[in-house]
């Protein structure tokens, strides 16, 4: 165990580190500037339990109607050995629909390492040796006409290094190998109505898919293959309009790949973040709530209202950020000249003298704003 690992274990407490999945990794990209979050996620702290313990439980319940619908749709799309799925994916990619495809279910079995090995072996079995793609520009160009048959891989077991730890990802997705390239196929049950989907759900799906693309690319690299055999274009399969009929769309996740990669790199350098974390910092959900809350406040968070939708600790951080202009949203803070504290905003608006020359401009703006507001309210 390295020094960093020991520190993280001490922060986490007795429990084994909480496993990441694509959703939690995707959530990491939400607020990359937050140190508290990077440390807690890096240590694999059980954040829902922690939030509950300190009296700010997260509210991320999922309706069983939504779960049922998701499972039903996925089963429907994958039925008949993926024949329908293959047609959808091939048509969307503009390649001839193969008469048949090899369907490999990589799920099942208990031993994670065994499963990961099996996935890696079967996924890379029919690939050309390294080098044959080296002259091809990354991410572009025609798929090379490789002879191996089309194949679909269900439930592949992938791995990704998160904060120096190997994280196993068990996606429900399908990796499709068509025309010599892999495409991540993500089946989601939110509808695409007249070619448009809910932007928030679409954005979340794109980041999650990017995590899978990254993991699949790492797998190929580790086995000595060209990572760009995995396309940056993800095939998203959703119900069309108000029906259950599936429709496939291509999603370019290059931007999401960069964001995820950047955040993972940042978490790999956790030791630099840990330098500023107090030595006795603990986030062990078994500890006393008062000690926990006091401990958490010593590692700075960067609360923004968006956190409410993605981080289990958000209600605690929001409570802590009361009286801060940032808690009202970054646009509010910017409109107030970047002044962080509500009391200071009001003091400056009330005409308090400014000692800090950097605040002179903000102070003048706030003073004028306060005068105009009072004037308008008085004349109305």
């Amino acid at each position: 165990m390295t020094g960093t690992e020991q520190r993280l274990a001490a922060i986490r407490g007795d429990a084994p580190p909480k496993r990441h999945n694509a959703r939690t990794i995707a959530a990491l990209t939400g607020n990359p500037g937050c140190t508290r979050r990077a440390v807690l996620d890096g240590a694999g702290v059980d954040k829902p339990a922690l939030a509950e313990r300190i009296g700010f439980p997260a509210r991320f319940g999922q309706s069983r109607f939504a779960i049922t619908r998701g499972n039903t749709f996925e089963a429907q799309v994958k039925a008949d050995g993926g024949a329908e799925l293959l047609r959808l994916v091939a048509e969307r990619l503009g390649v001839p629909v193969p008469a048949a495809a090899h369907w490999t279910d990589l799920g099942g079995g208990d031993d994670l390492a065994d499963r990961a090995r099996r996935s890696a072996t079967l996924l890379t079995e029919a690939l050309p040796p390294t080098g044959s793609h080296s002259d091809e520009p990354a991410g572009a160009g025609e798929p090379s006409p490789v002879g191996e048959p089309a194949a679909l891989f269900d439930h592949p077991m992938l791995g990704l290094a998160v904060a120096g730890q190997r994280v196993h990802l068990e996606p429900d997705l399908v990796a499709a190998r068509l025309g010599g390239r892999f495409h991540v196929v993500e089946i989601k049950s939110f509808p695409v109505i007249d070619g448009q989907a809910d932007p928030a759900k679409l954005a979340a799906a794109a980041v999650q898919s990017a995590v899978y693309v990254l993991a699949l690319r790492e797998l190929l690299t580790a086995r000595g293959h060209d990572p760009h055999l995995v396309s940056h274009e993800v095939v998203l399969v959703c119900p069309r309009d108000f029906s259950n009929a599936p429709v496939a769309h291509l999603l370019d996740v290059r931007r999401q790949l960069l964001v995820v990669r950047r955040q993972l790199d940042r978490m790999d350098r956790l030791d630099t973040l840990l330098v500023d974390v107090p030595a006795d910092f603990t986030a062990d959900p078994a500890a006393d709530p008062a000690i926990l809350a006091a401990s958490l406040t010593r590692v700075p968070a960067r609360y923004a209202p968006d956190c409410l939708a993605s981080c289990e600790l958000a209600y605690f951080c929001r409570h802590e950020a009361r009286g801060q202009t940032g808690a009202l949203g970054r646009p509010v803070r910017e409109a107030l000249g970047g002044i962080a504290d509500v009391d200071e905003v009001l003091a400056l608006a009330g005409g308090e003298t400014v000692t800090d020359p950097e605040r002179a401009e903000a102070a003048a703006l706030l003073r004028t704003a306060a005068r105009l507001r009072a004037d308008a309210l008085a004349t109305a």
Partner: protein, 496 residues
């Protein structure tokens, strides 16, 4: 986010209570609006679960779908909703008025009143838009027949949803947006989407601060979400067993009982929001309407009349997607409406105008000197051009030569002639007036501002801007895909 609004939000944090950001009401409120609180089934594509609808606090009708995944029941819901919404709409098609067009050479008619729908939040607007989308192409004949009022409802709901995108329209209003237009709370815009929390900030119950009331409103077990999404906990713990019990009922008595239980559960989820809707409406009604609100409502009545006439003549449903020309025309229309709406709000409301004063696009000053008889004879004919000098403490960033208007004298133009900063940080402004002073070389009484008057002048203009011309759909340029092939939804499109 304007600095004035942000400052109001900061003041709300300090006061623990929402602060006004408007001094007048900027939307029209109908005497009898139709309040509609919809709930949707989680996970499904806009599957209605329940709705409470009615045009008076005591007249809320509860509609429920006991099996939301059953497409026949969804259409039965749409038909029930149509039986409430369509008569409500038709009730506004009684009296009309003649409006002169083409400079008085012709007249057209518009209804004296128009329907107004109120939903809790923007997600409610989206729900109605998608419900309209899923019903307007349905047919009363053919393979999947539906009751004839269902596609008609779809066309009306689509009309409402499209009007909701139109800045300044009051045809379909989301309560959270109407309230945040007039108050700033001490929470973020995301949190303002939660109607109970928003109203907690604006009108907390006695003994609580706004912040405390909003915090209480966040607990979904005591304060159900305002929809259309339901609380997952409610789904799992109460709704799912009740739906299963209804599905499992094998005799009439059990089924009636299970239906009554579902109704009770859903009524409990909807009633708090229903009451909040009327409370919100009461708060908005207490504000005096802005001077230009009625004029914008005329536009809503025009649109209502035009759509009613369209349905009377052939009634083709709105297309799934706009063609290139229609999309360009719509965008142009919306941009014009947005610009007009922004100007009108500032003209109607000194608190909105203050935002422009802060950015130097408007100033308020006192008239120091006035020369109401000044005549400019440098041109071919002498013209009356009075000048006034104002003193203002506001920053004046408008360049010399620009034309300004005063909201209290919209028919008169004022050209900025001199801007002179004074020693004590104020600014002297000289304006040259034209128009709105009667004919001849003598200004009619009161048409030139007098010494001592306090006036606001702004670069914002609410003068009429003619619309741009667009080609017909058949003349769509090749750059935009050429003339479109006619496209309609497949009539056998499934709903479930």
């Amino acid at each position: 986010m304007s600095t004035l609004r942000a400052l109001a939000a900061a003041q709300a944090v300090a006061a623990g209570l929402a602060q006004p950001v408007a001094t007048v009401r900027h939307l029209h409120l109908s005497r009898r609006p139709l309040v509609l609180v919809p709930l949707a089934m989680a996970g499904e594509a806009n599957a209605p679960l329940a709705a409470m609808v009615g045009s008076a606090p005591g007249e809320g009708r509860l509609l429920i779908v006991p099996q939301p995944r059953n497409r026949d029941q969804r259409f039965a819901f749409a038909a029930e909703l149509a039986a409430i919404v369509l008569p409500y709409i038709d009730g506004h098609r009684t009296a009309n008025e003649a409006v002169a067009v083409d400079r008085g050479r012709d007249v057209r008619y518009r209804y004296l009143d128009a329907p107004q729908l109120l939903v809790p939040n923007p997600a409610g607007v989206t729900f109605l838009r998608l419900l309209g989308r899923s019903t307007r192409f349905r047919r009363a004949d053919g393979e999947y027949p539906v009751p004839p009022q269902v596609p008609l409802l779809g066309r009306w709901l689509t009309f409402f949803a499209e009007r909701a995108e139109h800045p300044g329209s009051s045809t379909l209003v989301a309560m959270t947006q109407a309230l945040t237009l007039h108050w700033a709370t001490g929470q973020s815009a995301v949190e303002d989407l939660h109607l109970p929390a928003l109203l907690g900030w604006i009108a907390p119950p006695a003994g609580l601060s706004g912040a405390e009331a909003a915090a209480r409103a966040e607990d979904p077990s005591s304060c159900p979400p305002a929809g259309p999404a339901t609380d997952p906990e409610f789904d799992n713990r109460l709704l799912a067993p009740a739906i299963e019990a209804y599905a499992a009922a094998d005799d009439e008595a059990t089924r009636v009982e299970a239906y009554a239980e579902l109704e009770r559960l859903l009524r409990d989820q909807l009633t708090p929001t229903w009451e909040l809707m009327w409370r919100g409406l009461g708060l908005l009604r207490a504000l005096p309407p802005g001077a230009r609100v009625a004029g914008r409502w005329d536009g809503d009545r025009d649109a209502f009349t035009a759509h009613a006439d369209h349905l009377d003549s052939d009634g083709a449903p709105q297309p799934r997607r706009d063609g290139a020309v229609a999309a360009a025309a719509r965008l142009h229309r919306l941009e014009r409406a947005a610009a007009t709406y922004a100007v009108q709000r500032a003209y109607d409301d000194p608190l909105v105008m203050a935002e422009y004063r802060l950015t130097g696009e408007a100033f308020v000053g006192e008239v120091l000197l006035a020369d109401p008889t000044r005549v400019d004879d440098s041109g071919r004919r002498p013209v009356l051009r009075p000048r006034i000098q104002l003193l203002t403490t506001d920053p004046v960033l408008a360049p010399v030569g620009v034309t300004l208007t005063s909201p209290s004298r919209p028919g008169q133009k004022a050209r900025l002639v001199f801007v002179t900063p004074t020693a004590d940080g104020k600014t002297e402004v000289v304006l040259e007036l034209s128009g709105g002073m009667g004919r001849g070389l003598t200004a009619s009484p009161g048409s030139v501002p007098e010494v001592g008057e306090r006036l606001c002048y702004t670069t914002l203009s609410d003068a009429y801007v003619p619309g741009a011309a667009f080609p017909t759909a058949d003349e769509t340029p090749w750059t935009h895909g050429g003339p479109p092939a006619s496209a309609a939804a497949a009539p056998d499109e499934q709903w479930a």
